[in-house]
């Protein structure tokens, strides 16, 4: 048969197809560094991760060590500051820079764990809801509606008040309030994918529902999950900071950026650096994650890629 001559690969159609996971690591990095914001985001995220892992080695001081004599020292470039405390000290004489470095641990931990928890619940419920439809779908989607109807912050406050604030409760609370959006996104993706012919083909060969969901549907909806979850890490970091600011988050002596903001609030007029630097740290981290998320969305969405 003549077909053996058909060794050519795609034509124009291949342009605008999604990047496949064919181990194209080189291609990915090339595409990363082509995008300015992607590169910036990537570098920021790497820096923050590095900072939290090696906090013990980088931080110049013990973040919990109080020094009554050195209260509210300004940053090094201001009058009265010294290079011993480059970003100054807080009301108890603790080193602001060291506290920011250690605070990144809590922010990342809460951000990532809460998203993994929310994502797992949301993806499973979204898959089940979209694939099976019918009454299962109705129940799950009405639950989603109910969750959306309760103001998130109220829900979190009640639970935190009942369970008492701790790192674990914080993660649980943020996880259980955020699964809803994953469930909705995954469900709508599943509704599209399950009508594709390859799913029908799998049914005609007699594949079980479980097999169809795991091999044919999940891999084809997961990219939107990745994009949304990256962006969610950023919003969760902000949520953690807000709760800590309200005093319902991480409790001392554990350091968190939100807690630092809260501590520094009283001194904003006289010693602005106590609250400002953790605020800047939150902003930069969140922006970096957002940039990275946008870039991920661009490369995972074929339509976005075609426009480049």
């Amino acid at each position: 048969m003549s077909a053996s001559l058909e060794t050519q690969t795609p034509q124009l159609q291949s342009i605008g197809k999604p990047v496949q996971h064919t181990g194209q690591f080189k291609r990915l990095t090339r595409m990363l560094f082509k995008s300015k914001t992607g590169t910036i985001g990537f570098l920021i995220v790497i820096a923050v991760v590095f900072m939290s892992i090696f906090a013990g080695a980088i931080a110049p001081h013990d973040p919990a060590k109080t020094q009554a004599a050195k209260r509210l020292k300004p940053p090094m470039w201001m009058e009265g500051g010294s290079s011993v405390h480059p970003l100054g000290t807080d009301n108890l004489g603790r080193d602001v820079l060291s506290r920011i470095i250690y605070g990144s641990q809590v922010s990342l931990m809460v951000g990532i764990c809460a998203v993994i928890l929310a994502g797992t619940i949301g993806v499973i419920l979204g898959l089940v809801s979209g694939y099976y439809g019918g009454w299962i779908d109705s129940i799950i989607m009405r639950t989603v509606d109910a969750f959306l109807a309760i103001p998130n912050i109220l829900f979190m406050l009640v639970i935190l008040a009942v369970l008492g604030p701790s790192l674990v409760t914080l993660i649980l609370v943020l996880g259980f309030t955020n699964w809803v959006k994953y469930a909705r996104i995954i469900r709508s993706e599943v509704l599209g994918v399950k009508e594709r012919d390859y799913v029908k083909a799998a049914r005609t060969v007699g594949a079980s529902n479980q097999r169809i969901i795991l091999t044919h549907i999940l891999p084809n909806v997961i990219s939107s999950f990745i994009v949304v979850s990256t962006l969610s890490v950023a919003t969760t970091i902000i949520a953690e900071a807000s709760l800590s600011f309200l005093g319902l988050g991480i409790q001392p002596p554990t350091v968190s950026w939100g807690g630092m903001l809260s501590d520094g609030r009283q001194y904003l007029a006289t010693s602005w650096w106590v609250a400002t630097f953790p605020g800047i740290a939150i902003t930069i981290t969140v922006l970096g994650i957002m940039f990275l998320g946008d870039w991920l969305r661009d490369i995972l969405d074929p339509r976005m890629k075609a426009r480049k």
Partner: protein, 332 residues
């Protein structure tokens, strides 16, 4: 068609009505009669073509045969077994013997899977062999459809439309089915690729004693590959006959118009065609009497009132019309 009259598939009074909903409280407003009472038989080793325009119910029929959709009414008999109410084990066994080739070579292959896994999936689902054994079978299947072993670890996006369609065919052949439903299997392909696939399907039919149901809106392709052809209009078969009989002596006015509407690739044969007026009626609200009466050039009062049924007019030539053409021409 002088084959042994061994019935492989028999469809009796098959119907599929889709409820459609409207309004705030999703009230059921009525039914779209996608397939509205279809009977036919497919004999072992033949190709039955089903041709018709969009919305005529040809694809829905194919999907019901393959158990992808549940019939509203009617019976499907396959290899002597009634296909409704089967338990899971029986259903899985039936699935081995019936496969499908899809229209769109881009959406019929999972973009995240390698060719080897795509073609091997039916074998794995049915637990037929393991490891090397499966790989050998896959290579053999690929060879059968004209692809090489070095394609095994590639992904679908690395192939052209024609090659993807070959992969889909290899997957359909993996379980040695007796019946393959080809749903618009060549419609999305370029002309030169279409002929490659049509030739391949014919070759495979001969080598593997396959039976095809070839569903398409493209008359030339249907004619090329089919032994018998059923013409569908608004959920019903309006005419069914052997290929040459149908093309030489179409009896239903719709078939006649359909044949006349196909542009002939020969500029010396430009002709006055029978151009049907109007559009296909809405299948949720089909016309009274004969469904075709709103567009029929020969319509009579009787056609508006009573619906004709599919009757044998000549040997193996079934028509659903009050005035099958020859008769009518004599009248006018």
């Amino acid at each position: 068609m002088n084959q042994t009259q061994d019935k492989l598939l028999e469809v009796k009074g098959l119907k599929k009505h889709f409820p459609y909903k409207q309004g705030m409280f999703s009230k059921k407003m009525g039914h779209v009669r996608a397939v509205d009472g279809v009977d036919f038989t497919v004999y072992r080793g033949e190709t039955l073509g089903i041709v018709g325009e969009s919305g005529c119910g040809k694809s829905t029929t194919g999907q019901m045969i393959l158990q992808l959709l549940e019939p509203t009414e009617g019976e499907i008999w396959f290899e002597g077994k009634h296909l409704t109410g089967l338990d899971k084990g029986e259903e899985k066994a039936i699935r081995r013997n019936m496969q499908m080739i899809f229209q769109d070579p881009y959406s019929s292959l999972n973009p995240r899977m390698r060719v080897e896994d795509i073609v091997a999936e039916p074998l794995r689902v049915h637990g037929l062999g393991r490891g090397r054994e499966i790989r050998e079978k896959v290579v053999e299947l690929l060879r059968l459809v004209g692809l090489d072993a070095h394609h095994l670890s590639r992904h679908p996006h690395e192939f052209s439309g024609g090659q993807r369609q070959r992969i889909g065919i290899a997957r359909a052949l993996a379980l040695h089915p007796s019946l393959i439903v080809c749903d618009e299997a060549v419609s999305a392909l370029d002309v030169s690729i279409q002929s490659q696939i049509l030739n391949l399907l014919k070759k495979l039919q001969k080598e593997l004693q396959l039976t095809y149901i070839f569903i398409s809106h493209g008359l030339p392709a249907v004619k090329h590959i089919s032994d018998r052809i059923a013409v569908m209009y608004l959920g019903k078969i309006v005419e069914l006959a052997e290929r040459d009989e149908l093309f030489e002596r179409p009896m239903h006015p719709y078939t006649e118009a359909l044949l006349s509407a196909v542009p002939i690739p020969d500029p010396t044969q430009r002709k006055e065609r029978i151009v049907l007026q109007g559009d296909l009626p809405n299948p949720a609200n089909p016309p009274s009497g004969c469904h075709f009466h709103t567009r029929c050039p020969y319509v009579q009062d009787m056609c508006r009132q009573s619906a004709p049924s599919l009757q044998q007019q000549a040997d193996g030539h079934f028509v659903s019309c009050h005035f099958p053409l020859q008769e009518l021409r004599n009248l006018i």
